[in-house]
């Protein structure tokens, strides 16, 4: 099994997406757990940690690349003499 093999990669993607789906569905159970405390309202809603984790990461990547990167990115020989 090689990680460069497209068939292996497809299997990994499928397995990962199944795990992600199960994790979202786990909220049916988690939200009823006595240890679950929502402190800000929205953090107690269905699927919050899933969409928040994906959303903030997507925003951070896009802002880094297309806002900060656009202004502050230089060739890595910039400081060379």
């Amino acid at each position: 099994m090689s990680l460069e093999d497209p068939r292996t990669l497809r299997k990994l993607w499928t397995a990962s997406l199944v795990v992600l789906a199960l994790l979202v569905l786990a909220d049916f159970w988690v939200l009823r757990d006595p240890h679950h405390h929502a402190h800000f309202g929205v953090d107690g809603t269905f699927g919050f940690y899933s969409w928040y984790g994906f959303g903030v990461c997507a925003v951070m990547v896009l802002v880094s690349k297309f806002v900060v990167g656009l202004i502050l990115k230089r060739k890595d020989t910039f400081y060379d003499d």
């Binding site: 990962s16 795990v19 928040y52 984790g53 990461c57 880094s64 690349k65 990167g69």
Partner: protein
């Protein structure tokens, strides 16, 4: 309270022992592994109520050994770190090889640096704290320089300049406060408790906007904590050290700053925002970075941001979280940098664009790197999960929405920028064709040791000893904090794995390029030299005669009129501030050592 005279703080074992190491020749490398263990034994052997004072300049006492609430947890991990670092840096190829010759400079410097950091955690007054704080700067600069490259030489020079400026700010603040205390008739103006500015500190004094001393001290510490824009030195200098030097550097400077902030500024609200800025800044810069060790350097700033934010929140839960997280962070960050250092040592390459596919031939380095990556991401069953969560919990308990939502976003971002990005681009990504074996046994042993610590600290039931040495331990029969609840584990997995999904979904955008991202060091690397070259110098040259008269002849004439110096006075030259700081620190340290011998 027990009082003993003449007993040095445990860190002195490392400082003096480190300096002796090169003289021991063949025995040096073995003794180097022993010294941190002796230091650790001393830290745990000293009774918690012991204080050691020594007279200073006639009328003052220096308290060189005292246990403050966070002393034990920081001193312990500093000593453990010195051991693992010495194991990783072990001159396996012999003292006369290139690596061995470097070891003879780097390891003594690293031990002076680590030992001074331990001495800072034991300092019971502001002056001994400052002396060892500055000695750390000298030790760490030497660690950077010992890499021996031109880039390391220049980066070390910039590093030293920034730290001496930070030291001057800190000293100015200390002096301002000491003079104010003396003016109000305080008999022990050096005592640490006069410098507790934090509103929720261990013995809180409030700190208003008009208190210049507190501001100067805070700025001086924030330079070392690497808070932007004062922290560009970190990502500039750390990746230029050797593969073992960077491992040492990652541990002490920023975490000693966390310790001192915790002691002096706990509950200072401003630190919440400083910490959040650090957490987000680290992620953004790490996402854009191509040098594998610079990615990890930016992620130090990100992680220290969590701790600084916790100190700003200032509750017992938050401060425990910050201290525990510093402990866990030192281990997994050193582990990540050992993994990166092994790759650098075996391949000579440091850019993600040159690496990839190393999982084929470096299984131990990859596995240990991934364990470090899981721990920094706070995966359940790793150390980060039982430590960082306390800071998030404190933000939730205090209903500080901005802090909680930003820290939660930053937790997801950690997995993105360090947890996946580092292992992915180094060990997987594409096949670079490189097939180096795992590094020599000592480097493998150091990695396996720290990987084991990362996992053991995360196992339910095994993190108890760490919780027991936190600044605010649980009362008898009570639980300090319970990280393993079903919602906490599931919510954390949801957050992290969906962050992972974002990484792979956006992989084309994250593809590495041969670029750097400008940081605040641009001001002193480009703007100031450029302004001097193109603006100030031409003006000075154009008005040369006028300036010669103004700064040369005029003062000379004035001097000749009012004062004719005796001949021997001409021996003395004026010194730069940096040089003077080194000399003063050296003298103060020599004074301390002589003090022990005399006592």
């Amino acid at each position: 309270m027990t009082d003993a005279v003449g007993l040095p703080p445990p860190g002195i074992i490392l400082v003096l022992g480190g300096l002796v190491l090169p003289l021991l020749r063949g025995l040096g490398p073995a003794v180097a592994l022993l010294l941190p263990l002796l230091t650790l034994g001393a830290i745990w052997g000293i009774p918690d109520d012991l204080t050691v004072t020594m007279p200073f300049m006639g009328q003052y006492d220096l308290t060189v050994l005292a246990f403050n609430p966070p002393t034990k947890v920081f001193a312990t991990i500093f000593a453990v770190m010195a051991f693992a670092g010495a194991l990783f840096a072990h001159p396996i190829t012999g003292l006369d090889s290139e690596r061995g010759r470097r070891w003879r400079v780097e390891l003594p410097a690293a031990f002076v640096y680590a030992g001074s950091a331990i001495c800072v955690t034991f300092a019971g007054d502001i002056l001994s704290l400052f002396i060892f704080w500055e000695l750390m700067a000298i030790g760490s600069t030497t660690v950077i320089w010992s890499a021996g490259t031109r880039a390391a030489g220049r980066a070390g020079y910039r590093y030293a300049l920034v730290h001496f400026v930070g030291g001057v700010l800190l000293m100015a603040g200390i002096l301002a406060k000491v003079f104010a205390l003396q003016a109000s008739g305080v008999s022990d103006p050096l005592a640490l408790h006069h410098f507790f500015f934090g509103a929720a500190g261990f013995e809180g004094l409030s700190f208003g906007t008009g208190d210049a001393a507190a501001w100067l001290i805070l700025l001086g510490i924030l330079v070392n904590a690497a808070a932007p824009p004062l922290g560009a030195w970190l990502a500039d200098a750390y990746p230029e050290a050797s593969e073992s030097g960077t491992v040492f550097l990652s541990a002490f400077t920023t975490k000693t700053a966390v310790y001192v902030l915790m002691l002096l500024f706990a509950g200072t609200q401003l630190l919440i925002y400083v910490g959040l800025l650090m957490a987000v800044y680290g992620i953004v810069y790490a996402i854009l970075e191509n040098d594998m060790r610079r990615i990890l350097a930016y992620s130090i700033v990100n992680q220290v941001g969590f701790m600084v934010c916790g100190i700003g929140i200032g509750t017992a839960m938050a401060l425990n979280g910050a201290a525990a997280h510093a402990f866990a962070h030192i281990v997994y960050k050193a582990l990540l940098l050992m993994s990166a250092g092994s790759v650098l040592y075996m391949t000579g390459k440091r850019k993600c664009t040159d690496l990839g596919g190393l999982y084929h031939s470096m299984p131990i380095t990859m596995t240990c790197g991934i364990i470090g990556a899981l721990a920094i991401s706070s995966f359940p069953l790793t150390s980060g999960f039982v430590t960082k969560s306390m800071i998030n919990q404190a933000a939730a308990d205090q209903h500080i929405a901005l802090a909680w939502f930003t820290l939660t976003a930053a937790s997801a971002g950690v997995f993105l920028h360090a947890g996946i990005k580092f292992p992915w681009f180094v060990f997987f990504q594409k096949d670079s064709g490189l097939r180096p074996p795992d590094p020599p046994w000592n480097m493998r042993a150091a990695m396996i040791f720290f990987a084991a610590v990362c996992i053991l600290l995360g196992v339910p039931g095994l993190y108890g000893p760490l919780y027991a040495i936190l600044p605010f331990p649980a009362a008898a029969g009570e639980t300090l904090y319970e990280p393993y609840t079903v919602p906490h584990v599931i919510n954390q997995l949801q957050l992290l794995l969906f962050s992972g999904l974002a990484f792979f979904a956006l992989l084309p955008v994250l593809k590495r390029t041969l670029t750097i991202t400008l940081d605040a060091d641009w001001f002193y690397r480009r703007l100031f030299p450029g302004a001097w070259k193109h603006l100030v110098r031409p003006v000075v040259l154009a008005f040369r005669e006028f300036f010669d008269y103004l700064f040369g002849q005029l003062p000379q004439m004035a001097k000749d009129i009012v004062y004719s110096p005796p001949q021997e006075a001409r021996m003395f030259k004026e010194w730069g501030l940096g040089g003077a700081m080194v000399v003063i620190t050296g003298f103060l340290f020599a004074y301390l050592v002589l003090g022990y011998i005399a006592a």
